[in-house]
């Protein structure tokens, strides 16, 4: 059963075909990866799924419902949350507040009820705080909850982005290069975290990543893009052996040289 499927997806920037007619279906409850060389159109692909870009052609369906031309905030309402390649935290807010913002769509406090400080609002605030703290414990940032988000080390900021996205209780979690800039130890911890999220929270995960060890170790299914087009799909073993993929990453000559197997 597919949770998210795209058909004939196209996005042009001037004369550049950033994404050019991609068809793909992401399986429910699995970890899928989107890989490809720099400039292959991976982030553009994510930006279309999350509504930041409107595709020039094609369809995107979440659970069988089209989400093309739906505003980003409404797409989050429908169950897609994401992290960003270039970290986009709310820098001057605390770690805890960042996660509390993530829970926005599940809270009900309005202008009047906030002003009157109704018991409903107070209870909701308290529960939000507890839930946010639990999520920080889950990603291992609980001890830093009062710190300013921008003051966190790089790896911690990436995990905070994940916690914030989880706070929206999504069906699908998109991770855009979650391991970028992490050292091997942090990458291992991240791998464990992603696997835990998939298993314990029943969330379908789609990730963009350049760290091939992480991708091959985690993914159930892989989509390979190059120059905006799908050049391959399949499970890690298929992708590793696919000549088109090797060519895209290392050039034609690499195919003749049997010893160089990058992935």
């Amino acid at each position: 059963m597919n949770i998210l499927s795209v058909q004939g997806l196209v996005k042009k920037f001037g004369g550049l075909m950033a994404v050019n007619g991609v068809d793909y279906a992401f399986e429910r409850g699995k970890i899928s990866a989107v890989i490809g060389p720099n400039g292959a159109g991976k982030t553009t692909f994510f930006n279309m799924i999350t509504g930041i870009y409107v595709p020039d052609a094609g369809s995107i369906e979440l659970d069988g419902k089209s989400i093309v031309r739906v505003k980003p905030d409404k797409i989050t309402d429908q169950g897609i949350a994401r992290t960003f390649q270039n970290i986009r935290l709310f820098g001057s807010m605390t770690v805890l507040e960042n996660v509390m913002v993530g829970m926005h769509i599940h809270l009900k406090a309005g202008i009047l009820s906030t002003l009157l400080n109704l018991p409903l609002v107070r209870r909701e605030e308290k529960e939000t705080m507890h839930e946010a703290y639990r999520l920080l414990e889950y990603v291992g940032l609980a001890s830093l909850y009062n710190e300013e988000a921008a003051s966190l080390p790089y790896g911690a900021q990436r995990r905070l982005e994940i916690a914030r996205a989880l706070a929206a209780k999504p069906k699908v979690l998109l991770l855009d290069e979650p391991a970028a800039g992490m050292n091997p130890r942090e990458t291992n911890e991240l791998t464990d975290l992603i696997r835990r999220i998939q298993r314990e929270r029943e969330i379908s995960i789609i990730l963009i990543e350049h760290d091939m060890k992480l991708v091959m170790g985690l993914s159930d299914h892989i989509l390979v893009l190059d120059h905006g087009e799908k050049i391959a799909e399949g499970n890690p073993e298929d992708i590793r052996a696919n000549p088109k993929v090797i060519e895209a990453y290392l050039g034609k000559s690499a195919l003749q040289d049997e010893e160089v197997m990058p992935i």
Partner: protein
């Protein structure tokens, strides 16, 4: 010296008695001298001292209430300048409310608004038009002017009108960002002023540049409010509501979404925050604070004309916010009071003193440096100095630190003893 400092830091009784002594001395000097700007500023300064004591929040509010309701009105009642002191205090209150409103827009939501005074004008004209005969020009039946009894309803109406115009302005304007938004709001501020200036034809609604005069003063059970010391209490009451509201919003779902939009629009949107609606809420709520005080302003002056709502006013309010500390409620309050005092009292006093000196022939000032011209110069110099030495404002915005017992589920409430012992353990470990 450091021993005394340490004692002061930890001893609430000592702090409170020092504060009381300070209040007593400054209040007495205000009471005994006929008109002393310094004494009056010191008396207001006691509120700042109070802010820096380590009393509990509730205690601080109680003491502040006592100072504002009892001490300040009585201390100033001693001499002939009573009303002029109260007038200054009332102006301070009006500006504090406006600055707090603008702080929601600029400080919390990060939207630079250079036409904020427009909402103040809308509030003022809302009351002005109906509390004079002006409304008879377009509503038949000779129902107007409304009596001062309606003032209380109009406080709310003024806020609502300003909020509506905030939304109307916001709808087209909030699609642009940053510098562009600043320019468009600047234009809006001027447009509103010019409309009020020209809306005498074809139907005379605002009476144009002539302004509206003899606006009905507020009336409560037969008691007419005409003196500054009476308006002081009206302003104080509204201000209490405004500050209470701002503090509620600041740490709520709405306040968090404002700050999230300020910090990163794309991330905020990806967390399910609707951009336009969130910005509109900030615009509307900020504008409404300004509208409330516009009504009070109209009733207090009993005369309004478009020249009270110039771009200079908008920038002055913005200066209060930036100077005090964007996004910091205590900072913005301090900034507003300070700038108002500077403009109304300190600089006026100072130039008066210079004038006197030059008239007595003690100093001679060339015409280009006449004291009145110096006033703006000194004001500007003070702003530059503060911008250099306190770039984040006088009291910069700080994040709320929440104790662990509150964030961790079930720690504080279900097991009070455990949390108390754990606190003790922490203290032992710390020392």
């Amino acid at each position: 010296m450091s021993g005394f400092k340490l004692a002061l830091q930890n001893n609430k009784v000592l702090q409170l008695s020092l504060l009381a002594a300070f209040v007593l001395v400054s209040a007495l000097s205000v009471y005994l001298t006929s008109r002393s700007v310094i004494a009056f500023i010191l008396l207001l300064g006691s509120l700042l001292l109070l802010y820096y004591t380590s009393l509990s929040n509730g205690m601080k509010w109680a003491v502040a209430g006592l100072l504002l309701i009892l001490v300040i009105p009585f201390a100033t009642a001693g001499g002939p300048s009573h009303e002029s002191y109260m007038e200054v205090a009332t102006q301070c209150g009006i500006y504090v409310a406006m600055a707090l409103g603008l702080n929601i827009v600029v400080g919390f939501a990060g939207l630079l608004d250079l036409g904020f005074v427009a909402f103040f004008a809308i509030g003022a004209y809302t009351y002005g038009i109906f509390a004079t005969g002006q409304a008879n020009n377009f509503i038949p039946g000779d129902l107007f002017p409304l009596s001062g009894d309606y003032f209380w309803v109009f406080i709310i109406l003024g806020g609502i009108m300003a909020a509506i115009f905030g939304v109307l302005l916001g709808l087209p304007v909030l699609r642009v960002k940053g510098d562009y938004l600043a320019i468009v709001t600047l234009g809006f501020g001027e447009i509103v002023r010019i409309i009020f200036n020209n809306l005498e034809k074809p139907v005379n609604i605002t009476n144009g540049a002539m302004g509206l005069s003899s606006i009905s003063p507020p009336n409560l059970f037969g008691l007419q409010f005409t003196f500054p010391h009476q308006f002081y209490f009206i302003v104080l009451g509204i201000l209490a509501v405004v500050i209470f509201g701002v503090r509620r919003f600041e740490h709520s779902r709405i306040g968090r979404s404002w700050k999230a939009v300020r910090e990163n629009e794309i991330a905020a949107q990806s967390m399910g925050i609707p951009l336009i609606r969130t910005k509109l809420t900030a615009f509307a709520i900020g504008a409404s604070f300004s509208g409330l005080m516009g009504v009070v302003f109209a009733a207090k002056q009993t005369f309004i004309d478009p020249s009270s709502f110039t771009l200079l006013e908008s920038t002055t309010i913005l200066v209060m916010v930036v100077l005090g500390g964007m996004g910091s409620v205590p900072g913005v309050i301090l900034g507003a009071v300070l700038v108002t005092l500077l403009n109304l009292q300190v600089l006026a006093e100072f130039t008066g003193w210079l004038n006197q000196l030059s008239m007595q022939g003690i100093i001679t000032l060339p015409n280009a440096l006449s004291p009145v011209k110096m006033q703006r110069f000194i004001f500007g110099a003070i702003l530059i100095l503060i911008a250099i030495f306190r770039p984040h404002g006088l009291i910069s915005a700080r994040n709320r630190k929440i104790p662990l017992s509150q964030v961790k589920e079930g720690e504080a409430h279900e097991h009070p003893e455990r949390s108390r012992t754990s606190q003790k353990v922490r203290r032992v470990n710390g020392s």
